[in-house]
Symmetry: C2
């Protein structure tokens, strides 16, 4: 039984976090946290997945390097600057780890480092150097909120969750914070997501589980089709729950994976629903597919279509755009078999059957689509496989936010 | 020497056209033309390229069928309804050809048929039946404008062009009309483009040239990444210029191809610049590439990125998004070699050199980007190949137009 609890990224035993303002971005409000620190009191098995973008920010290379040994103690992360595509970016990412280590009495190699914000401007490393001792002093078991706000950019709500479940008589906890909003179309890794757990598990199993779970959660989100240069999702497991070490894909491993997927799915949906400028969370449920892969590709094309997204903003039951998006997804399907419905808390309405439009109640459709969460349900009538992908609507605010983000 | 002339799709000898209002869309303004007819006085060699979308509108299948014999006499096209994904769509597309044939004294198989508008609603075939005798009566050598306006949907300007050039002592003319605006991301064919010429050329050569030229022009345009179900580009060649028949890829063929590419490039740029809601034409020039294919893929990712498009709307020199889009394009390149400049009538400004950001004059950058036509110039410093792709900015109006297009 997976139970949601409070505490976010500090909910698991032995984790502390903090978030402070250090002034990474010139002229930023002193009330906006921009530097986050997460620290375990014991060494953690650690695994990460990263952006597939060919242009990777320096912190990703540094993190990959530090995680080669499969263990880590903490995370240092900033918002306000992506530390990507600028001189000294690699040195500055290393320096962030060194400053974090000095402030916490650890080694630079013990840290995962992440940055998010504008690309191509040199990061204000002095601000981070000055800030890290303060961040270290502020570390506490109640620090998840502050850390979650410190990694936000254009996010409008902070994203955190924690769950606990039983594993052979021991209570195991998984907690996490994440950020999303724009440049969100994770390909392999994702935006920023930091997951902590007190589960005892090997790095090998943890890495494999993270890859599998990220593929079914974060990688099924799209906000704008732009895969960022900085996407990173890491999980730290310090073993303090005292469960029998998970070394194999056994029943215990399955229980841990379910809880990890619960956490990641929650964050993925939160990221989609809080997409830049979004007014609603749009889920595409693709069922009756011949393979999960083709179901995923079709569903992702639907939630990624600018025209579908604009129609969702207008609460317009323009299902022709759903079929059109499926058609250019490059996944095989037979248009003449497809049923399309729109569903939400306000009801469900079938608008297309066997590829042809139905006469439907426009007023009911409008009501269904005006809800905060809308499902586009497509049945391919070809097989037993399915997939769900998440996105959001395309709004005036997306254009506004991105028409003048940098300056 | 290729010379621009007037007359549009009727500029070539022996072609007439018309455009009238027949009321395809309920409640549409009587002043909005919605039915176009183009007719040659002689049989034409004919070739077409079509959408690669798996969901194809019925008129495409009918046109493919009619063009199997490689000849045609004319085009019948409507706006206001896509005649896609609805019962009777195939029968109605055939009926449009039959009505056009009856009104002009030809056979149904002599016609190419196209529809553009909303997907999934049954077309008002009675309106078209009543309209076609009027359209036939209105056919004239001055009818290009009326036909061009009849195929417009959310287009704000009509797209037509004609050129003439010398071919072995004979003057050959190519004329064309097109429509674009939304759901524009041609994959193989394109939106609607009708090209007429009096050149004498075989169907085989014409087909090959059209494929090659479309790949370098229409297929390099993106407005919103959504490949339509109805994209069609056809060319009709009636041979009335009296030039020596083009049967091989010789010098004469080369001259014709250059003129055809001139026409298609003009229309492609016009379609990009008049993208739904667009306030500027954005060209990405990718140079220094190892292959034209990778240059094209990189350039297309840049003009297709929602974030780049929004930045262009805001005249924001956010070149990090350019690099980011290139990075997820799946084309190989070395980020550390890349130079990026923004160029326009107001000047040129280098913002990124060898993958790192430069300090630059923000005021000049703003001036450069505020022009109606903006070029994003990227030098990969890896080879001699290049490609140019065209798009537009992402604006409030795109969202407005597509948030409530259907109802």
């Amino acid at each position: 039984m997976i139970k949601e609890i409070t505490g976010g990224v500090c909910a698991a035993q032995g984790f502390k976090a903090s978030g402070i303002h250090c002034g990474v971005k010139e002229g930023s409000s002193p009330s906006k946290n921009d530097l986050a620190l997460i620290l375990s009191e014991k060494e953690c098995a650690a695994a990460g997945v990263y952006t597939m973008n060919r242009v990777k920010a320096a912190p990703i290379y540094v993190t990959m390097d530090h995680l080669e040994k499969g263990v880590a103690w903490g995370v240092v992360a900033n918002s306000g600057n992506a530390n990507a595509c600028c001189p000294m970016s690699h040195e500055n990412a290393e320096a962030m780890c060194a400053f974090a280590a000095k402030a916490t009495g650890r080694e630079a190699e013990d840290f995962i480092v992440c940055s998010t914000g504008v690309i191509g401007q040199t990061i204000n490393i002095q601000a981070i150097q000055t800030g890290l001792p303060k961040a270290a002093a502020a570390l506490s078991a109640g620090g998840s909120d502050a850390a979650a706000t410190a990694i936000m950019t254009t996010d409008t709500v902070k994203k955190e969750i924690a769950v606990s479940f039983d594993l052979g008589g021991k209570t195991v906890t998984i907690g996490a914070i994440a950020k999303g909003s724009g440049m969100i179309h994770p390909n392999m890794g994702t935006m920023l997501a930091f997951i902590t757990t007190d589960c005892a598990i090997t790095t090998e199993v943890l890495s494999e589980l993270l890859r599998e779970v990220a593929a079914r959660t974060f990688n099924r989100v799209t906000v704008d089709g732009d895969t960022s240069t900085n996407d990173t999702c890491v999980v730290l497991a310090n073993g303090m729950a005292g469960n029998e070490l998970i070394e194999w894909k056994d029943e215990n491993c399955q229980a841990f994976q379910s809880a990890l997927e619960y956490v990641c799915r929650h964050l993925a949906r939160a990221i989609a629903g809080d997409g830049e400028g979004a007014s609603r969370l749009v889920t595409c449920k693709m069922t009756g597919a011949r393979s999960e892969e083709s179901a995923e590709r079709l569903a992702k094309a639907v939630v990624g279509s600018s025209l579908v997204k604009a129609a969702m903003f207008g609460a317009d039951a323009n299902w022709g755009r759903v079929l059109c998006a499926m058609g250019y997804s490059k996944a095989p399907f037979r248009p003449e078999h497809v049923d399309v419905s729109f569903e939400s808390a306000a009801g469900s309405i079938l608008v297309c059957q066997q590829g042809d439009g139905l006469a439907f109640d426009e007023e009911l459709a409008k009501k269904v689509l005006t809800e905060k969460e809308v499902i586009i349900a497509v049945d391919l009538h070809e097989g037993e496989e399915s997939a769900e992908c998440w996105g959001c609507d395309l709004t005036y605010d997306y254009v506004k936010i991105n028409g003048d983000y940098r300056t």
